[in-house]
């Protein structure tokens, strides 16, 4: 999503579903996975006749309440969305005014960009990578001319006055008629023209007439007074093409004018209580809090970093807000982390930020352990082996560690790995610690939900025995390390000794103080800030997470607010808790209005211009900037608009989405001029040998999923839930069951190249064989993930991830938990 709009978060929020005309739910099952949020879609259905379309490998309770359901082969969603884009462009269903005003459709693309035989320009097969600089726009100045210009100092001002650095080549050339063959619009049209309904059907297994029915329905949301909400979850991200799946649905939403609007948006449904909040806080290898990029080797100074990481202003009317304020946010972060030790003289302690060499994702970290290069692991509420992928590989990686610390209220698959089935404890030399930590209800603190609402919760119970808070453990670890580095020195102690630890109880920092530090304050006056607009790069402000500025102001804890009034009737609830950024409830909401500031649909205004101000939701835009100034709605991108074409290094696998087959696929790629294997997916040492070829011994497509009664693995400790969903099972279709002699309720074994599971066969018409093209039939098998060797009905061979392949998305390395090959047999 960041590649499309500039931010990676659900654009709208749960209650906003009530404002929709239509839902396209793909790779998600909200009726079971998010039932209390999905109620709002039913409200829209019941009160405004909204339609629900569900596309998923499995027929679920979401399908049962949908108006249209289509089964899809796992891992083929890019083909589905590119097909929809093709249909929308071909039939001119797009929202033309929106596309002109709010997307980069009119931008001219450089001659260096091309696409041929399934790969984009700049591809080097030997390194399985692209020279992404070939995916660029054409600029007003020629390259030679720009070269002369850039001998001057083009760096952004160090004062952080918010002036935007313009690309040295000037602004991007545009063609407002959208007719130039090198315009994004025409190139996109050409790119997706291969995804005809027939081709889409052959790849995805969605019958052609069903695809056309969906295309016509969803295309109808391109009318300015209609709006549709796109809903997805890990059913889309868990693929080697995961990021491009999200790109393709985001582009479709831009074309239909559905982004930034109440009732619309691109809505990623997150699976854990605070997965959003602690992504915002950058427990994620490639970012720092507030989605600031992690510096890379070679960016030797803060100036280098500011020169290379933030977006440049690429269009005259682009505010480029994020790009222009990057220095303010980073310096304020350094002041929060390092306090007085971060000074102008030491470049704000820029050197103290670690610079990862290459990908440092989940898969990479466990692979490092597998290769005996990692010594230790802290599992902060995490079931690493159960999460997988390829549980046996993860178990081996943990067995190679010198030490492992598991912090959790209850035993986990990580804390117990050394006695997992198939692991001999006497062969495991890992020292393992289990540190009993508090439950959510034994402490205060805020959870940020999928819709970006940060809601404060209060401590209700005292922990029993010697159970301690997670942050107590972290603080004790820090104080212990600080003492050791003071006593005996060690490697580069500066950031440890210089870390700001200004808490009233250093051994147990109050969560309120941490929340205030995240929000930020003026260091000179001590006042809490109410907006990140006040952050500065001169060392006079601090903010631990700039997007949380406004969450704890001089008026107090905004996340604890509980007034549920809704004066606009649009469900914004601005006084219930607090939503980042700046209590805004719908991101990019400037795009909810036309060039004169009038809502596309007056019944559902996001924000509108009242002659002097933008009113309604908190504007994602300068609140007093008149629409006739013409400033672009997407203030987080250098372009000022949403990206149909994502230039340069925003992705590593293409500026347009292209369908490649999953790593393990039963068929060849049916896209004309297509390529079967993802060109840039990364193969870890020895993993490639564990992938099954097409036409081999593993003919069936498997997909993993979640059910209502469990959440990952922790609920195996909750007796009511274990009773309602007691045992591991496997879903398969009746045809396959008949072919294999498998009776409903009998025990089956499912095998992949990597492992096997055994469970109860659930033979059900909810799974159905797919017909690809004229003759090819593909069976899919559904495997829930919630069982392992810990808690509840713990037993061997009940963990879905024993089967999954050790490979991830080309860009962010999200593992391919969906769409891999297995065989199945009666036990």
């Amino acid at each position: 999503m960041a590649a499309s709009f500039g931010r990676g978060a659900m654009t709208n929020h749960w209650k906003d579903f009530k404002n929709s005309d239509m839902f396209l739910v793909v790779g998600a099952n909200p009726a079971e996975a998010h039932p209390c949020g999905w109620r709002w879609a039913y409200r829209a259905r019941d009160e405004r006749g909204a339609k629900i379309i569900h596309v998923d490998p499995r027929y679920t309770r979401t399908s049962a309440t949908a108006d249209v359901y289509a089964p899809i082969r796992a891992g083929t969603d890019v083909a589905f969305f590119n097909g929809l884009i093709n249909y929308v462009l071909d039939n001119e269903l797009y929202h033309e005014e929106y596309v002109r005003q709010h997307t980069n459709a009119s931008f001219i693309v450089a001659e260096s960009f091309s696409f041929d035989e399934g790969v984009f320009s700049g591809y080097d097969e030997a390194v399985r990578g692209y020279d992404t600089s070939t995916w660029d726009y054409e600029y007003e100045k020629a390259a030679a001319e720009a070269g002369e210009d850039s001998t001057g100092d083009e760096r952004p001002p160090a004062t952080g006055s918010g002036e935007s650095a313009v690309d040295p080549r000037g602004f991007v050339r545009t063609d407002d008629t959208l007719q130039d063959p090198r315009s994004v619009f025409q190139l996109l049209k050409e790119h997706v023209s291969r995804y005809t309904p027939e081709v889409v059907s052959e790849i995805t297994g969605i019958p052609e007439e069903k695809f056309l029915e969906i295309a016509e329905l969803w295309g109808s949301t391109g009318a300015p007074d209609r709006v549709g909400a796109m809903v997805y979850a890990v059913g889309l991200t868990h693929h080697v093409t995961g990021l491009q799946m999200i790109r393709s649905l985001g582009m479709l939403q831009l074309l239909l004018g559905n982004v930034g609007r109440t009732g619309g948006g691109v809505n990623a449904e997150r699976g854990h209580a605070n997965i959003q909040g602690n992504t915002d806080n950058a427990i994620s290898w490639e970012i720092l809090p507030g989605y600031l990029g992690i510096p890379r080797p070679g960016m030797e100074t803060l100036d280098d970093y500011i020169e290379q990481v933030p977006a440049k202003q690429l269009a005259m009317n682009s505010l480029n807000f994020f790009g222009s304020r990057y220095r303010d946010f980073l310096v304020s972060l350094q002041k929060a982390f390092f306090g007085d030790a971060a000074t102008e003289a030491n470049d704000w302690a820029y050197d103290w930020i670690p610079k990862p060499a290459e990908n440092s994702s989940w898969l990479t970290a466990h692979n490092e352990a597998l290769q005996n290069r990692l010594q230790g692991l802290i599992a902060f509420g995490f079931h690493n082996p159960a999460v997988g992928p390829d549980t046996n590989r993860v178990l081996q990686s943990l067995s190679n560690l010198k030490w492992l610390v598991a912090m959790d209220p209850l035993p986990t698959a990580a804390s117990e790995f050394w006695r997992a089935p198939g692991v001999e404890p006497d062969q495991v030399d890992t020292e393992v610690f289990f540190l009993p930590c508090t439950h959510w209800i034994e402490k205060d603190g805020a959870f940020t939900n999928s819709g970006r609402w940060a809601q404060w919760k209060w401590k209700a119970l005292e922990p029993e025995g010697e159970i301690k808070d997670d942050h107590w453990v972290l603080a004790q670890l820090y104080l212990g390390l600080r003492d050791l580095y003071e006593e005996e020195d060690g490697a580069f102690p500066d950031p440890i000794l210089g870390l700001a630890w200004p808490y009233s109880d250093p051994g147990h920092p109050p969560l309120e103080e941490l929340a205030k530090e995240m929000n930020g304050r003026n260091i000179e006056t001590g006042e809490q800030l109410s907006t990140f607009a006040d952050l500065k790069s001169d060392g006079t402000t601090l903010s631990g997470n700039w997007i949380y500025a406004g969450s704890w102001t001089e008026e107090g804890n905004q996340m604890a607010r509980r007034n549920n009034d809704d004066p606009t009737g649009m469900g914004f609830h601005h006084e219930w808790a607090w939503s980042w950024p700046l209590n805004r409830r719908v991101l990019y909401n400037r795009a909810s209005a036309d060039e004169n500031g009038r809502p596309w649909d007056p019944r559902r205004p996001g924000i509108q211009w009242n002659g002097s101000l933008w009113v309604g939701d908190v504007p994602d835009f300068p609140p007093d900037e008149a629409p006739d100034v013409g400033t672009g709605a997407f203030i987080m991108t250098g372009e000022g608009v949403g990206r149909l074409f994502a230039p340069g290094g925003l992705t590593n696998d293409g500026p347009f989405p292209e369908h490649y087959e999953p790593t393990e696929a039963p068929v060849e790629n049916a896209v004309p001029q297509g390529r079967r294997e993802h060109p840039t997916a990364f193969f870890y040492d020895g993993a490639r040998e564990s992938f099954a070829p097409a036409g081999g011994d593993f003919p069936y497509v498997a997909t993993t999923y979640r059910i209502t009664e469990h959440e990952h693995y922790v609920t195996q400790h909750v007796p009511y839930l274990v009773e309602t969903q007691p045992d591991f099972f496997v879903e398969l279709d009746p045809d396959l069951a008949a072919e294999k002699g498998i009776a409903n309720g009998s025990q089956v074994r499912v095998r992949s190249m990597r492992g096997e599971v055994e469970g109860v066969a659930m033979v059900t018409k909810r799974m159905r064989p797919l017909r690809l093209g004229r003759s090819k039939i593909v069976h899919q098998i559904g495997i829930p993930v919630h069982w392992s060797y810990v808690g509840g009905k713990a037993r061997a061979k009940s963990n879905a991830n024993l089967l999954t392949p050790y490979i991830g998305d080309s860009n962010v390395r999200t593992p391919e938990f969906k769409g891999f090959l297995v065989d199945i047999e009666a036990v």
């Binding site: 209580a273 605070n274 509420g381 404890p425 972290l474 509840g792």
Partner: protein, 197 residues
């Protein structure tokens, strides 16, 4: 006076007023005094948020002895918070059973740290002091052993690739922020939570 079932319920639902006394010919007050009171009587309502998925359903925890002197707070009930504009009092099966999770689930909750020595096939109890001392030593030794001030190209990198930090999706923002702050200060680059897995 004939009383059908419905009238009877109506009458018994009223307090022991004169009307009830007249209808039944006897005083119900002592019987009410004997009846068990609601378990949430005298409980404090503490507002919480569901710990499972990311819808963010508000919930009310009913606790007796909350912040009272010389008593241990006791959780008596959890239900959806009707004030929330998100869930309007509803909870799913997971949310509705959070009380069991809060009370320790299937009674496996460890009350003090546990240690499993290399090669051992059992946990042993360990004090916090001992566990923290040992962990701090391991973290420092690993960091010192693997710290890279520069990479092969001579770039300043100041990173440690000796240990990884995974998790955070179940901890609050403030705890997660502290974790990110500490881990980056230690030079950690292998940092991931549940967002992608």
């Amino acid at each position: 006076m004939p009383i059908n079932r419905r009238d009877f319920l109506k009458l018994t639902g009223a307090t022991a007023t004169g009307a009830a006394y007249a209808a039944f010919g006897f005083d119900l007050a002592p019987a009410y005094a004997q009846a068990r009171s609601l378990k949430i009587d005298r409980a404090t309502e503490v507002r919480s948020v569901c710990p499972y998925c990311a819808v963010g359903c508000s919930m009310i925890a009913y606790v007796t002895g909350h912040q009272a002197a010389n008593t241990k707070p006791t959780l008596v009930h959890i239900e959806g918070d009707p004030d929330s504009p998100i869930n309007e009092g509803t909870l799913c099966p997971k949310g509705a059973s959070t009380m069991q999770l809060a009370l320790g689930g299937s009674a496996e909750r460890a009350l003090r740290p546990k240690y499993r020595a290399p090669g051992a096939d059992e946990w042993q109890d360990m004090s916090w002091d001992e566990a923290l001392e040992r962990i701090t030593r391991l973290v420092k030794d690993t960091r010192d052993d693997t710290f890279e001030e520069t990479d092969d190209d001579g770039n300043t990198v100041n990173r440690q690739r000796g240990f990884a930090f995974t998790g955070g999706a179940t901890q609050s923002n403030e705890e997660g922020y502290l974790a990110a702050k500490l881990m980056r200060a230690l030079g950690t680059v292998y940092i991931e939570q549940q967002a992608r897995v």
